[in-house]
Amino acid sequence: MIELDTLTYLFMALAGVVSLIATYLAVLENDLIRAVIFSALQSTVYAILFYLLMAPDIALVYIPVAVGLYPAVVLFLIKKTERSEGDLGGAGGGSE
């Protein structure tokens, strides 16, 4: 029978791994809108993590800021500028 504390730590470990995947995909994505969505996924996982780490204050401030305001602001910026990260001189950061 799995204990309650082990279950909580299991959720924390899962959240850590999911945030690792989301961060990797967000940083290496060429389409900026998809990158913002992956970043929002990572923020959601962090919000769950704050809740599990017994920080209700931080969860309250983190959910509007990182799940609501950050992606909206960056989407505004992308809408006003350019959508893709652009390839110039064989770049694209991680493709070499």
Binding site: Y9, M12, V17, L20, A26, M54, A55, K80, G94
Partner: protein, 135 residues
Amino acid sequence: MSELNTFLFNILLFSLFFNVGISLYGIFARPSLIKKIIALTIFSDTANVLAIAVGYRGWPSPSQPPIPPVITTTEPSIDDLTWFARQAVDPLPQALVLTAIVIGLAVTLFLVFLTLQVYRLYGTTDVRRVARLRG
């Protein structure tokens, strides 16, 4: 059983360390200013989660979780307070992270305006193209 708990908590900590590494790579190596902003927010959020994780404490017993640093009564006795101080997690990192998140948003908004101005003046947000321009 406690070794399994330590293993799971270690997974969380190492995932956060790797997030720091990946987001630093994004800040330094990716060409787009917008991607740099996204990576910067990931970096600061990860630093905040690490600070909160430092303030976490192990479970007092397998069925009793640590409690948030909030007293649930307005007239606690000394016994209540002693029990509370033995159960609650560290409030100091939470207080520091709380202001850091909001101030981080304000600073990010400033960076967004700078990027917008760069785009208005140069027509691109790619740092390699901005570096090739003259004047």
